[in-house]
């Protein structure tokens, strides 16, 4: 196989595509966690997004409705989580785990009639530029709009958290819900919003899988990506930019190790499969070693139940 420059460009393009669902889900979860809520239901919300997006595409034959619908379904299922944890004060961890199990089961049931139906081509942008510019063409052009959105999202999230008033409120709630409440901030409302936003992003991440990345419905097609997204948020120490870096490393090594397997490297396949997990963790731990920064970025009240004194 020749490693010419245009091949590398295509390779990078495919790495970017494979990291999109991780970026979307992790960025959403990051906002949720920054408000102090630990939602372990990412995997469940993603898979619900994947099936509802695909089902809506088949039924309505409209990709726009499918994408919006997948986000809405993520919002709705995260609303269950929000109601349980914020209004009924259930434990975040247990509720999140239940949500994942529920999502996987529900999606399998809903998806029964959609197995084997071929997907639809998702429109890609600037496809003519992709072919005409060597190397940079396949990297920068010819992707779906969701990919561009995903790569902008960590920067938008960073800007939101650091520069806007609402972002400040979210961080304050995650730092100390009691203080925030005493300052007159409606903690429950802020947390509901962050949970629903996280759900929406996870829904979109799922739809990317079933509508764009591998346009079809396969049972359990998220294949643990939700858990990776969760781990990314923690190992990236709640920094959106580091989430992006982690997602690209994970996506990159996943793709590369496939090529290595194809080439026939004399490395055990099991090790190659484990490689993306290993490298992502190592790199994120190394780039996040500043303990002061970790302390400042970690939502102090993460996973703790808040209730208002009466």
């Amino acid at each position: 196989m020749s490693l010419d420059i245009s091949f590398i460009g295509v390779l990078i393009g495919s790495i970017m595509a494979s990291s999109v669902p991780l970026i979307l889900a992790a960025s959403g979860e990051l906002i949720t966690e920054r408000s102090g809520v630990l939602n372990l239901g990412v995997e469940g919300m993603m898979i619900i997004g994947a099936i509802s997006g695909f089902a809506l595409m088949v039924i309505t034959d409209n990709l726009f409705i499918a994408i919006i619908g997948s986000m809405l379904s993520g919002v709705i299922i995260s609303l269950i989580f929000g109601f349980l944890t914020q209004s009924l004060l259930t434990n975040h961890v247990a509720t999140g785990l239940a949500l994942t199990i529920f999502g996987i089961g529900l999606s399998a049931m809903l998806g029964k009639n959609f197995v084997g139906i071929p997907g639809k081509d998702f429109p890609i942008l600037f496809s003519s530029l992709r072919e005409s510019i060597p190397f940079f063409g396949p990297i920068l052009f010819g992707h779906s709009i969701v990919l561009y959105f995903a790569f902008a999202l960590p920067f938008l999230t960073n800007y939101f958290l650091k520069k806007t008033k609402l972002g400040l409120v979210v961080r304050a709630v995650g730092d100390s819900p009691v203080s925030a409440s005493n300052q007159g901030i409606n903690v429950i409302l802020v947390r509901y919003c962050c949970i629903l936003y996280g759900g929406g992003m996870c829904g979109l991440a799922g739809a990317y899988l079933s509508l764009i990345y591998t346009p079809q419905w396969i049972e359990n097609m998220t294949a643990g990506r939700g858990w990776i997204a969760l781990a990314l948020v923690v190992f990236a120490t709640w920094s959106p930019i580091k989430v992006l870096i982690g997602a690209i490393i994970f996506g990159g090594i996943s793709i590369l190790q496939l090529h290595m397997q194809a080439i026939g490297f004399r490395i055990p396949v099991q090790f190659l499969i484990a490689l993306p997990y290993l490298m992502t963790i190592i790199v994120l731990v190394v780039i996040s070693r500043d303990s002061r920064k970790i302390k400042l970025n970690t939502p102090t009240s993460l996973g703790r139940i808040f209730y208002k004194e009466k």
Binding site: K165, L168, D175, S181, N182, Q183, G184, I185, L296, T300
Partner: protein, 499 residues
């Protein structure tokens, strides 16, 4: 404009406890009012009602004859009632400026200008762009005060503001409060410290068990009269018989105690040497942060330092860990009751079992003997007059005084030869302080020794036989307490010399 705040017939009932019972009070601007009471007297409930955090079951609040509806903290803010809580309501990981801007209505630029004006006017020096967790307690409190001042309050409520401050910071606070008062802000000062009431406030209302029991001018009051109103009975004055006999056995001797740390938040200790006789109390005075924490941890075995020699009952124990030291009959009562001495989420009897792994028969074949531990805990609760007999209660629900009694009881019931305590009465009310002082004196009467590390000069003079001062990790000459006066201690604690 003059401000007139009137509280009328406020009641608040929690299950099993009447926190506020028909409380009526009146405040006028231009004066500093004290609200005095023991822990649990209902002061905090009342101020939480005034600041809109909780709503009363009954009663009304009037500001300038306008009936206020305080159903959320926002309502209090809108009505210009500012509140500085005992446990700071700050966001530790956000910067000072972010903390202040979170509820501001103006843009950041003009807000910064206004904050700087306040900093200048009251002589506060705080870096606006560092995270709050890097600030000292005194600075954090100033941030809280600035947050109130930004809303130009008519009423400023301070809930036990000095419990975390050094003496210097307390003085600064009092100067600021007097300035605010002169500017026409009505100040309500919640405390259980009698001296502060007398030195700062113009009028004092005393609360006991949810009721207001007295309102008076402070100039007509003395420490004793206020104390008896607060506690509801006359407190017996306790005085220790000074232990002067020279021919007693030496039980504890520390030589060449040195400690060096890279952590800028820790204090290095330089060549400490001291010894202790049977039945003696050695007091170690000092302003907090001068090495007391490190000293306590070294004496208790949490930190092991090389080249230090600690002889206890003729044995070298410098290399032993806290558990082994306990087996040699040492006992420890750390400063932070909640995080160091007890596990707040555990039940009382579980906390009792924690430091008694070896003793008695709490554990059999690796299993917990709950019945024995509970019996033992019940005995501690009754022997040390802890205000409950429910050993199943989680420790976090005990008040500070009761928790301290439980901890002392747990340590003392093993009949140790040496008790090392660090600020044992920090943040406690008069009744509890009295009880703990009596207990500590009783230990000495029984020929057991104590090392009392404390930031409270009065306590040290009352309990110690000999006193030394720790300043920047160095120990002063050890003096017999009869020769020591508060002034002398003050000079040494500030780094001066008295010879």
């Amino acid at each position: 404009m003059a401000t007139d705040l009137r509280i009328s017939n406020i009641s608040k009932i929690y299950p099993g406890c009447v926190a506020n019972d028909n409380v009526s009070l009146q405040f006028k601007s231009g004066k500093i009012y004290a609200l005095l009471g023991e822990n649990g007297a209902g002061k905090s409930t009342l101020v939480k009602i005034l600041s809109g955090v909780i709503s009363p079951d009954n009663g009304e609040v009037f500001l300038n004859e306008k009936n206020l509806k305080l159903s959320s903290p926002l309502d209090a803010k809108k009505n210009k009632i500012g509140m500085v809580f005992q446990h700071f309501n700050l966001f530790e990981t956000l910067s000072v400026f972010e903390n202040l801007s979170i509820d501001a209505t103006e843009d950041n630029k003009s807000l910064r200008v206004r904050i700087n004006e306040i900093l200048k006017k009251y002589n506060f020096s705080i870096d606006l762009d560092v995270p709050v967790l890097n600030l000292s307690a005194g600075q954090k409190q100033k941030v809280e005060i600035i947050r109130c001042l930004l809303r130009s309050p008519k009423v400023l409520i301070m809930d036990e503001p000095t419990s975390v401050l050094t003496e210097q910071e307390t003085e600064e606070l009092f100067i600021s409060l007097k300035k605010f008062c002169d500017e026409g802000i009505l100040i309500i000062y919640i405390t259980h410290k009698l001296k502060e009431v007398l030195s700062l406030c113009d009028e004092v209302a005393v609360m006991r068990k949810g009721k207001v029991v007295s309102v008076s001018q402070t100039q007509n009051e003395k420490v004793e009269t206020l104390a008896s109103k607060m506690v509801g009975q006359k407190l017996a004055k306790i005085k220790k018989k000074i232990n002067t006999s020279k021919n007693k056995d030496e039980i504890f001797k520390v030589k060449h105690l040195n400690f060096y740390s890279d952590d800028p938040f820790e204090t290095n200790l330089v060549n400490l040497n001291f010894s202790l006789k049977k039945g003696e109390c050695l007091g170690i005075a000092g302003i907090s942060g001068n090495g007391q924490n490190e000293l306590f941890q070294i004496l208790s075995g949490e930190i092991i330092t090389p080249d230090t020699s600690i002889i206890f009952r003729n044995k070298e124990i410098a290399k032993l860990n806290p558990k082994q030291r306990r087996e040699y009959l040492m006992a420890f009562s750390p400063e932070d009751r909640i995080s160091q001495a007890a596990v707040p989420e555990l039940k009382i009897y579980e906390n009792v079992a924690l430091n008694n792994f070896k003793s008695s028969n709490f554990f059999e074949k690796g299993l917990v003997n709950e019945r024995k531990i509970k019996e033992h805990s019940k005995k501690i609760l009754s022997d040390f007059s802890v205000n409950t007999d429910n050993v199943e209660l989680k420790s976090q629900f005990l008040s500070g005084g009761n928790l301290q009694k439980l901890i002392l009881g747990r340590e003392l019931i093993t009949a140790p030869e040496l008790l090392i305590c660090y600020n044992p009465t920090w943040g406690l009310d008069v009744g509890a302080i009295n009880y703990i002082h009596e207990t500590l004196i009783k230990i000495n009467d029984e020929e057991k020794s104590t090392i009392l590390i404390s930031t409270d000069t009065e306590e040290l003079l009352k309990l110690s036989d000999r006193i030394a001062v720790i300043y920047k990790g160095k120990l002063s000459k050890i003096m017999p307490s009869v020769e020591v006066t508060p002034e002398k201690l003050g000079i040494l604690m500030g780094g001066g010399s008295i010879d």
